[in-house]
Amino acid sequence: MNRQYGWSGKILFIDLSNGTTRVEPTDQYSSFIGGRGINQWLLFNLVEKNIDALDAGNVIILGAGPMVGALVPSGSRLAVDYKNVLTEGVGSGNSGGRFAAEMKYAGYDHIVIMGKAARPTYIYIEDDNVYFRDASYLWGQGTWETENIIKDKENEWALSTLTIGVAGENLVKFACIIGDKGRAVGYGGGGAVMGSKNLKAIAVRGRNTAVKVASPSEFMKRVRTFNKEIFRKSSTVEIHRKGGTLGAYLLPGQNRPHGVRNLNEEFWSDEAIKNVTREKFDEFLVRRHACFGCPVYCSGIYEIKGITCEGIQANSLRAFGSNVDVTRAEDVLYAHALCNKYGLDTDQTSAAIAWAIECFEKGIIDKGDTDGLKLKFGDGNCVIQLIQKIAAREGFGHLLAMGVHEASEILGHGSRELALLVKKNSAMEAGMRSHKAWALGIMTSTKGTGHLRGAPALEFQRLSPETSKKLFDIEDINDPTSYKNKPALVVWQEKYKGIVDMMGTCALMSMWMDETLFSPEDIADFFNDITGKYTSANRLLETGEALQNLERSFNLLHSGFGRSDDYPPRKLMEIPVGKGLYAGERLDLNMWNHMLDEYYELHGWDKTTGWPTKKRLLALGLDAVVEKLTKNNILLP
């Protein structure tokens, strides 16, 4: 790795237990490029099998890829990786904002946080200096205000933060980390991992390390072409500039899939949708807001009931709109704002609340269990009260704070049957019954569901056979309800998303949902201009494949996940879509088995166990992975 270009060149290790730091060069890990790639390699090597996710032995690894902090459009993403609190496997999130770039300007491509502080602490990294600050007075503060207070305290308004709210402090198992006041590192309970380390916040300010590019003229020309031609022609960019992911996908009259009432239905009426369109939320909008270095400005800052927050996107609309059947925009936005303030992952919060409401409506629980609250779909006030209870772990909220897997185990009485669990995490997505590649990517996601691994949003675009042949060398993926060719699309998406996350660019501005943005060849061109290395798109896709194998191996080692953990929840196979464009659609078990066989075959994995094979891991250069698995008595097929 040429550390002069693209990378900052250093990895900072911080041990909270003894207040020490050390630095290693980045280049020894160059085979995994950066961002999520190097993060996952470090995670695999640093965390031993029997370490609990909330033990001091877990680590939080922050990673900024070589495309972060320069002018690459959307090159601002921060990868954050840790052992997952809910699944005990891969914990992984990604956020925009400014933190990743600021980290590089301070001189670090990655920051590894280990150990546990004796008392509430925040870390302030200012170029070469690392300060351990008392955070006792910040304990209990919301995420937005915590950053303000730290900025005042350090007398530095250009610093960037990752913070937790009360949910992380209280070890809510799906507490998230909030970056730059309002960007969420969502999945896997990263906020709880920070809380378990008594770590309220990480702040960073970089003044000294410039990001250099190897071929400045070519690079600037490429950036201009992207900004002025490719982005200008993209309908996705245009939509996101108007209102982020709320901009176009969930409008009345479209008959698109929605996740409704604990995902018992995927059709939401136009009467409901028209109350929660982007325009309704715009009444609370302070301004549109971009991630650092991104020309798309898909986000916004909102003010609601005294809370300033960043947000609201399609995920939160599904979480606190359709999935709980709330149609009052003010309630939906307030629920989202509270989750940002408390540091709660909106997907898993919604999953827990919707599950509880269904349990109540089916008579499994009553007011005696819920602190006197009557739970019902469509009641925004009930949803808001439950969010507050979860964050505080108060009363009934204590049960929900464990996540649906554990809560349903404790509650029993058939409550597990109402859940949508995959790998102990709740699948909280729309379109899983109708869109088969989407569903497969979610169920096989290494971080335990979620649409940001192998699930291709491109499946919603209904590409022509000619286009899919040209782009992926896959014959036809036009019909979302068809199972044909979908495993190949998912495998391609896994590799591609791996590249995006290793480089530090944004999934929204990529071929994840828009075939015109950032092809693997485009990414290779940017990478080569920046780093002075000469790699090909195919080589990058191979690295994406290695990353997929690495994460699958981490899950095997820590959670024992295999084929039996890649199946959809019962509801998605038994309850068909009731109305709309995809009425009657559901997942078929036999067809699912065929898809899994093909999916494992394409990866070169064992079809019976769903495990990576020794041969495949060695071919990808993952000898150390084979060695660690073997040492832990896992006999690879």
């Binding site: 902090g69 320069a70 002018l71 400014r98 300007y105 303000n148 900025k151 308004w157 250009a158 970089g206 003044r207 000294n208 390390t209 410039a210 990001v211 250099k212 590019v213 400045p216 600037m220 900004n227 302070v286 301004r287 549109r288 807001h289 971009a290 991630c291 650092f292 270095g293 991104c294 020309p295 798309v296 400005y297 800052i301 003010e303 300033t308």
Partner: protein
């Protein structure tokens, strides 16, 4: 010559800072830029230029203006009419 900002159009993306730092140093580091974007505790934006701003005299148009995705930056001698919502001018 003056750089004019429309803070209501600005999205705080920082592309102007990055482009400006490239103009000055052929690398990317906001602290090397002559333009500073700052967001206050409520999410409101402040923009200022520093005395090091040379209006990119060697470029066709100032780099900050060239890369601004929303047209929030104008060069005063290139416009006939003053835009609304000007909040800060370089000195």
């Amino acid at each position: 010559m003056k750089i004019l900002f429309d803070k209501h159009r600005c999205t705080a993306c920082g592309l102007c800072e990055l482009a400006c730092s490239f103009h000055h140093s052929k690398s990317f580091l906001p602290d090397k830029a002559s333009i500073v974007i700052c967001m206050d505790r409520k999410g409101h934006i402040e923009i200022k230029t520093l005395p090091t701003c040379d209006f990119c005299t060697n470029e066709e148009i100032p780099m900050c203006m060239d890369f601004c995705p929303t047209g929030a930056i104008k060069l005063k001698n290139k416009i006939r009419e003053r835009p609304k919502n000007i909040i800060k001018e370089s000195t």
